[in-house]
């Protein structure tokens, strides 16, 4: 076997799948998707909108409006399925690629663009959406989620049996992140403390150019056993399965039964970012193979077979187009960052040095105003 063969679901670890790439529902002994057709249509809408956000932002980068964009293309089901399993009072810690998670948490997609335009380092108040700011340092946020989960336990918000009270936290990370010490520390710590954390690994097969075999010899999901928590491997391109396994894991967490590791096996259809050229390190045949497992096509096939009215698809197309217009406008409306204002956010309680340097900057700007740059 080529040691660099991508890990698309080793046969020794079964993959939870509830919807085949051909759009056929399948049964699983432990997991089921119990929503009705309207629920599937609603998931389908989130998938379509997530992809539109991604396509539009990619185009904005190509038009020079963004400096960079990390595409979520191909990972929509993993993101939407898992995020839709969250309750409003649950909390999520995302990576920089989890645009579908932000969409499902109600973040205006226009707010995703600031970081990549160079205008922002964040974009929203985490408390407004129960969603932390995207983390660029790989794997760091797994520890933040673990601490957040400890906090929930200390506050008595876990295992009370009251569904309005019991809460959990989900943290997203990639296959590359599993090589970071922080991720191992987080899995260990959350297990020791039985914290209500769902570790959701989007195994998209690549960390920039490095295939998952560069990161690990064993399937990622198998790490769970070593840390003493349950692990489940799910078809990351199957929104129904992602929703079902995450729902189960979140409920375990809320019930006080501790953390779960979910490995969602998916594929990064696009480049790592718009600055990357994946043709340098992977074959187009491999990409084609995964294109046949597209996370959105299979839901459409299912819905068409189950009698969804064609107007719904047309309406979604219209809505997606409107979203595209909104994103283009939102991008151009992002204010230029004001360095003077940024001084005000270094500390809660400002310092003399901070104020002096702010004044120095403001005076300098005033002194050169009108001069040719």
């Amino acid at each position: 076997m080529n040691p660099l063969t991508v890990d698309d679901g080793s046969p020794e670890v079964p993959l939870v799948q509830l919807l085949t790439p051909e759009g056929r529902r399948t049964a699983h002994p432990d997991y089921s998707f119990d929503g009705d057709r309207a629920e599937i249509e609603s998931l389908y809408r989130d998938l379509v909108m997530t992809r539109r956000v991604d396509t539009e932002a990619f185009a904005l980068q190509r038009h020079g409006e963004l400096g960079l964009w990390p595409p979520a293309l191909g990972q929509e089901a993993a993101q939407v399925g898992s995020a839709r399993a969250l309750r409003p009072h649950d909390f999520a810690f995302p990576t920089y690629r989890d645009h579908g998670v932000a969409w499902c948490r109600g973040v205006d997609p226009g707010l995703l663009l600031g970081i990549y335009r160079g205008s922002e380092l964040g974009g929203w108040d985490p408390a407004d959406h129960q969603l932390a700011l995207p983390n660029i340092i790989i794997g760091s946020q797994t520890l933040h989620a673990t601490g957040y989960g400890m906090g929930l336990t200390l506050e008595g918000l876990v295992g009370t049996g009251d569904p309005d009270r019991d809460s959990a936290v989900i943290v997203y990370f990639g296959d590359g992140a599993t090589s970071q010490g922080d991720v191992s520390e987080a899995l260990d710590w959350a297990s020791v403390h039985q914290s209500p954390v769902v570790f959701f690994c989007e195994n998209n097969q690549y960390a920039i150019s490095a295939p998952v075999a560069t990161q690990t010899r064993a399937p990622i999901v198998q790490r769970a056993a070593g840390f003493g928590l349950p692990g489940v491997r799910v078809d990351g391109n199957d929104v129904l399965a992602c929703r079902a396994v995450t729902e189960t894991a979140l409920q375990r967490a809320r019930d006080g039964q501790g953390p779960t590791l979910i490995e969602a096996v998916t594929y990064r259809m696009g480049a790592h970012t718009t600055s990357d050229d994946p043709t340098r390190y992977r074959e187009s045949a491999e990409v084609d193979e995964w294109r046949a497992k597209d996370p959105i096509d299979r839901v459409r096939l299912l819905l068409e077979a189950e009698g969804t009215a064609p107007e719904l698809f047309a309406d979604l197309q219209t809505e997606a187009d409107a979203l595209g217009v909104h994103l283009r406008e939102a991008c151009r409306l992002i204010p230029e960052p004001d360095l003077a204002e940024l001084f005000d956010h270094v500390f809660v309680e400002s310092t003399v040095e901070n104020q002096q340097q702010r004044a120095e900057h403001v005076a300098w700007q005033a002194s050169i105003e009108g001069s040719v740059a």
């Binding site: 760091s140 601490g147 506050e155």
Partner: protein, 324 residues
Amino acid sequence: MTTMSMVKALGSGLRLAMEHDPKVLVMGEDVGRLGGVFRVTEGLQKDFGEGRVIDTPLAESAIVGTAIGLTFRGFRPVVEIQFDGFVYPAYDQIVSQVAKLHFRSKGSVRMPLVIRIPFGGGIGAIEHHSESPEAQFAMTAGLKVVACADPHDAHWMIQQAIASDDPVVFMEPKRRYWETGDVDTESASVPLFSSRVVRPGRDATVIAYGPMVRTCLDSAAAAEADGVDLEVIDLRTLSPLDLAPVVESVRRTGHAVVVHEASRTLGLGAEIAARITEECFYSLESPVQRVTGYDMPYPPSRAEHDFLPGLDRILDAVDRARAY
């Protein structure tokens, strides 16, 4: 007024902070049942329970990383890094996350986190147990860094640091842990981010913090016997710096000597020398002197006496300045 060691003073300060605010947590390696390897947290777990005084896995990055997550729930974690040389696994979380989250979120996220680090040498310890990494944190925008030097300040500064809504790296001079001193339990006397003159004098200004304050006071006592009157300033806050007392003093004395255990190059002394030059240029009668650890990894402990600034090196620097 009561007399106690710095260890007891820190412990009593932590206890008061925990009594005052139920959101204050203490976490770290061995801080619970054992009371910490230096016994600073002794008795806290017994009285506040395992939920608020948490024995953690042996993982410094995780100690800081989970503390960050706890702040999202409104907690005010006080984390103990067992020894200075063990902080580096947490460096990424401190620099990339703790220091930046408030800024990234334009103020909506607060990091009221205290990172306690016993630091410095002079205790005959093995490698990695005697380091002075404070400049690495002081140079990181978004962090505040303080160092206590005596039991009174230890008792109050830890409470003030916990009350701060900004993250504070709290440096504790471990070689002074067992020295006793008077603690005024009624009043802190000064705010957290302020320096203070601990010995007034006329002839030269000696600037120190943490473990070197005591050494400088001893030097001043020795100088007095020779008829030289040294002013000693305890910086207390390393970031932000409060140099108003230093500037006022150097303008009077014309001579400045900065003392720290950390290596010389790009240590706190470099910044302080630059600032004194900016603020006191026409008052200076000699270049700012630095008495520091040498630019080498911390030596084996049998050589630390020669590595660390001591009375003789400090007085020699004073003489050099005054003879300039």
